[in-house]
Symmetry: C2
Subunit: 685 residues, 2 copies
């Protein structure tokens, strides 16, 4: 399952962004203001009108919790994946009712349930601001100053735009720093749950079937956006296709791929292969074991830990696949051949020769990047994250908006506070299990004699320390957080909350590491911008930039593939789901929910359930609508097959496939399994 | 569960051996030829006769697969833990019958089942050979030469002893190299399974209850040793105590603790804390996740992987506990205080001052030891291990016995071949899962550009490479192994078996690393021998040496303890087991087997089932008999509580406890649950 970004994006994301050469037919995550019109015309004889493109863009939705979605009705219905909704389903759940496991259907609009902290974004315009940004960064600045100048320029543009339009305004870095675009979003923060299936239907086959195909998953959840307490009136939404897409038909995916690294130099890829991914995989396996242990204790522990555990297992499976792909000697060899060919041309041309320096610059920053993997103080634990935001926010708010750390600029305040003041329950026992494991790894990484470790442990072992910090903290209370935000620096300095004090004791180190990382990113950004210029000069064309969790259009065809000598057909059906259950003797995780088993005789079993296409997708695309030439909804992306896991670094259309839930399958399930005919009939209308 | 040594001792064991000062009342794993007679007299008014000691020693049994046991009848019955027997139960199992899960009771001797490769050792004599060893090692040799000379001297003594007595003869290094003892063992290689309970009774509560107390586990299995095809006649066996041990009563544990590190210097402990244990824990978590994934695929995969998985989970839980203990700043502080106190005395005495050098020497080898953690080629995968033994054996056999790598000396040949020619089934799919994960970690550790990595992968990714190596190998066939042993170097060189060729391509590196490790061990051995001399000089007494998987006697009292303000009583009963099941709604792993639930009404529910004592035990003690003053069997060690996990480094008698199955519980289970009255009546007779 292509896990959305957000709370589960543990990977400290230096966003490298870039363009890759030698493109394959269906490759590309294209900018909506620079669609591959020629390729589409050549390959598929399709010429999208501006109206078509605008309609798809405006019908697309981004989830702040990570993931993609679409508007599918005039009265505010939003369709996404169950696993994108999982964070909200988990937050809504209580020991009495588990929305994630049991699913939900609102019996009328008045029973739709408000999500505690979701923010949905609809992209409404794109503006190129490259010149303004570049003009603000003098060429003689050192990396830190240059990063600072760039950040300030972005903040000013964003604030201006916010003041002018009232819309969320984000400046996005593209092509590794060669371009900067201003994205404006309409925000929806009153988002209510309408329908979710049981996790056993959405995630049928569990971790075992994840990233596999054939699949049989109803990985879908429906929300509705409200404005002023009423269902929002939506102008641009997707019509529902009568039959979905046929074999070999071209389809389009509109969503927010989180991050690709296709533009990385070979040396940077080797850092991933030999350092970053192994480091991350060790971390994930340690956390998986720890949270698994936590969850085993009782069904209630299981409920509390399942969202976290799912996220970790999903990342672990994805990273394992990526790592094995990168460890394949042929993979790096192929990348190196491409790079060498480009460098030969660059070096042969007197006007371009100076660009070769850029590759060296990227190589030069690798050792320090590797060093910075270890011993960071950016613990992904909820209390700690809250304390971090509160402490940093108080300090940053004393500076002018453009001088602050990026996430604390005035234009981002509303979104930040929406999340910071989320009333979602925090489970102390789960948090202790997480923080103690993270602290233990922190001690390992720095060594028990490190002064900061000694300060952090305060004479206790990591388990005792985590229990004390969390047991004594009041940061689980929203009003305590509000008071600390309102009280500013004085309130933070006066606070006796142990978690606030804990982060304060690490704040200097946090800032030091972050500053160093941002300076390295700046060096890379400048280098990759040069590499992009060199590539455009040699190859005469730009293309698509590496993914940045912003809206892109991919395309491809519905198409099966060959695996171990077997033909894998492009579709599965409801009949296949029941057969798959039977083949595993209905043992977990291959046990469909009672609702399915009880409805078997009513279901049109030959209805398509899931299908694959060659569209170029990646994590973050989860929940993306799949549309046909007519712009009608034919499916929703929820996964890539195991062969697609190296798509972060290289697209392949031979066996890599995007996996979707079929539009007809969704309608059939609502009607024949979930007794939700009325809802089914609203879809696309 | 104190996991036995053996196939699951993944930790590359440099055996540090040593003595600790400031002993607590019940501390110590004492040599049978140097029992703590004064302490026993003082503390417990007990004066063991030589006859008593000899009887206990000769009634004790060591399992080659790791773990301890005892003779409990004149006709060869041997009692050990179910988890010590697990390796054998797993090897006996087939897709049709799972001995590990379902248990077994031989219906008459003719139905007892021969274990494929067990070797049981009974210690029959101990001889001090320190002077002979020291005389053979000239003081002016460098570490490698000195290690070589020591190894040669050991081999000569062992061979002499074997020639003279026909007994397995091992020279054991004690007190970090200050003493060398020759241990002679009678071997039993015809070992048959008599009775095993179901895994759900033996390991009730599973990984969750492991290392916890109260416990309710029937962690017991009974074998019988045969000689010349008939049940062996056993002179020394333990009588069965009528009622077991009472609260506060002194008890004795006779078994083979695998390894302690109580004599380590503070610097060496920090290497464990900051490097060795984290490295090992990362490895375990990665393997746990990989084998868990393997096992989830189907019940048959589960069966194939369960022994391996259990071993890994057990180690992971133990290492996690040890690591957290070591990360407690107070722990290292306490160790450092002890060390400083000794060093002050050493430095204050002109005759002892030169000993202080030894601490420096230990510190000096740490960086290289840390470096050697990474990138080793000692993969713990069955095909690879077989190839390694075959290739090394062929080469080593060309040298005189005393010049060979230690495990290939003539005196060890029989035991080595007993294991090498084991007919136990090897499951290729499980082995591929293991080797591919290990290869992936190997690539990570050395980096994908390392020449040896490039050679090892041979152009494939780790998963494809592992599948090719194992898929193409014939080493799962015992006759192929025999032919290769008989054919010697010529056969190895001519072999086209991919796994043989694979190890041959890594052999030079394996030997290089091993040589370096052994040289470092030699430096440490000499240093710790000096530290021991210094300690004896300052404190005027020797004590017990660090554990070496050889027979030791521990003692303690049956005694509850306090945990989180609650009193934990020393005993549990059968009634408690059923209550524990009910408290967890009989959900796995808290589901007792049908045999228990169906017998509930017949069982005397107040019979004691498990109990705790202050005896000083550690991994390898699993299966050790617990006896009373009269030398009668009162229980069998199967675990330590979670507070005892730091016992590798420091004994504590406040809350650390050894956990045993009670003698009366075993008899009651055999009679009332397993319908094995006849067997029950043989016990102790």
């Amino acid at each position: 399952m292509s896990r959305p970004l957000g709370s589960h994006c543990y990977f400290s994301c230096l966003i490298w962004l870039f363009f890759t050469s030698l493109m394959l037919a269906d490759e590309g995550m294209w900018l909506f203001n620079d669609l591959p019109r020629e390729i589409l015309k050549q390959e598929y004889n399709f010429e999208p009108t501006q109206e078509w493109a605008d309609h798809i863009m405006l019908s697309s939705v981004r989830f702040s919790s990570g993931g993609s979605a679409s508007f599918v009705s005039s009265n505010g219905l939003v369709l996404t994946n169950h696993h994108v909704a999982a964070d909200t389903l988990h937050k809504l759940s209580t020991p009495e009712f588990n929305y994630y496991e049991n699913g939900f259907l609102a019996n009328g609009m008045e029973h739709e349930i408000k999500a505690p902290d979701l923010e949905l974004n609809q992209l409404v315009s794109i503006e190129d601001v490259t010149e303004r940004i570049n003009a603000a960064v003098a060429s003689d600045l050192d990396p830190e100053a240059s990063h600072q100048a760039r950040r300030a320029a972005m903040a000013v543009i964003e604030q201006e735009s916010l003041d002018k339009t009232g819309l969320r305004s984000d400046v996005i870095t593209l092509f590794g720093g060669a371009k900067y675009h201003l994205y404006r979003y309409k925000k929806y923060t009153d988002v209510r749950l309408v329908w979710a299936p049981e996790s056993t239907a959405a995630f049928f086959g569990g971790d075992m079937d994840n990233f596999e195909f054939p699949r049989y998953n109803m990985d879908v959840t429906i929300f509705r956006v409200y404005e002023d307490g009423k269902p929002a009136k939506i102008e641009h939404f997707l019509k529902w296709s009568e039959h979905g897409a046929g074999d070999g038909e071209v389809v389009f995916v509109s969503g927010n791929p989180a991050r690709t690294d296709r533009g990385l130099t070979t040396e940077a890829l080797k850092t991933l292969r030999d350092h970053s991914l192994p480091f991350y995989l060790d971390y994930l396996c340690r956390m998986e074991v720890a949270i698994q242990q936590f969850a085993y204790q009782s069904p209630e522990h299981q409920r509390r830990g399942q969202d976290e555990l799912f996220g970790i297992q999903n990342s672990r499976k994805a990273i394992t696949g990526m790592l094995v792909g990168l460890q394949d000697p042929q993979f790096i060899a192929e990348k190196a051949t491409q790079e060498d060919a480009l460098l030969v041309k660059v070096n042969a041309n007197l006007d371009l020769k100076h660009f070769a320096e850029a590759w060296k610059k990227v190589s030069e920053v690798q050792p320090e990047k590797i060093e910075l993997l270890n011993g960071g103080v950016d613990f992904r634990e909820r209390y700690y994250e809250i304390a971090k935001e509160l402490v940093l926010k108080a300090a940053e708010d004393q500076k002018p908006s453009e001088d602050r750390l990026r996430e604390f600029s005035d234009s981002g305040r509303e979104s930040l506070e929406h999340e910071l003041f989320s009333p979602a329950t925090i489970y102390d026992d789960l948090e202790v299990a997480k923080l103690s494991t993270m602290l233990s790894m922190f001690v390992e990484q720095r060594g028990g004699d490190d002064p900061l470790v000694i300060k952090a442990l305060n004479g206790k072992n990591p388990f005792e320390r985590a229990a004390k910090l969390i047991g004594g903290s009041q940061l689980n209370k929203v009003d305590v957080r509000r008071e600390l935000v309102e009280g500013g620096v004085a309130a933070i300095e006066a606070s006796t909350d142990p978690m606030i004090q804990f982060f304060r004791s690490l704040e200097a180190e946090y800032r030091k590491i972050r500053k160093r990382k941002e300076a390295l990113e700046e060096i890379e950004r400048q280098a990759y911008s040069q590499i992009e210029d060199a590539r455009v000069a040699v190859e005469g064309t730009s293309g698509y930039p590496d993914a940045t969790f912003t809206l892109r259009l991919s395309f491809g065809v519905v198409k099966g593939y060959e695996e171990d000598g077997r033909e894998v057909p492009p579709w599965t059906t409801f009949a296949g789901a029941f057969a798959h259950q039977a083949a595993h003797e209905a043992k977990e995780p291959w046990k469909l929910p009672p609702s399915w088993n009880e409805s078997e005789s009513r279901i049109d079993l030959e209805t398509p359930l899931n299908f694959v296409s060659t569209a170029d997708i990646i994590g973050g695309n989860s929940g993306s609508p799949v549309v046909n030439r007519a712009g009608e909804f034919v499916g929703i992306i929820f996964d890539g097959n195991i062969q697609s896991l190296t798509a972060d670094y290289l697209y392949d259309d031979e066996v890599s496939r995007a996996v979707s839930v079929h539009s007809s399958g969704i309608r059939e399930a609502l009607k024949s399994i979930y007794n939700a005919k009325e809802l089914a009939e609203q879809l696309g209308k």
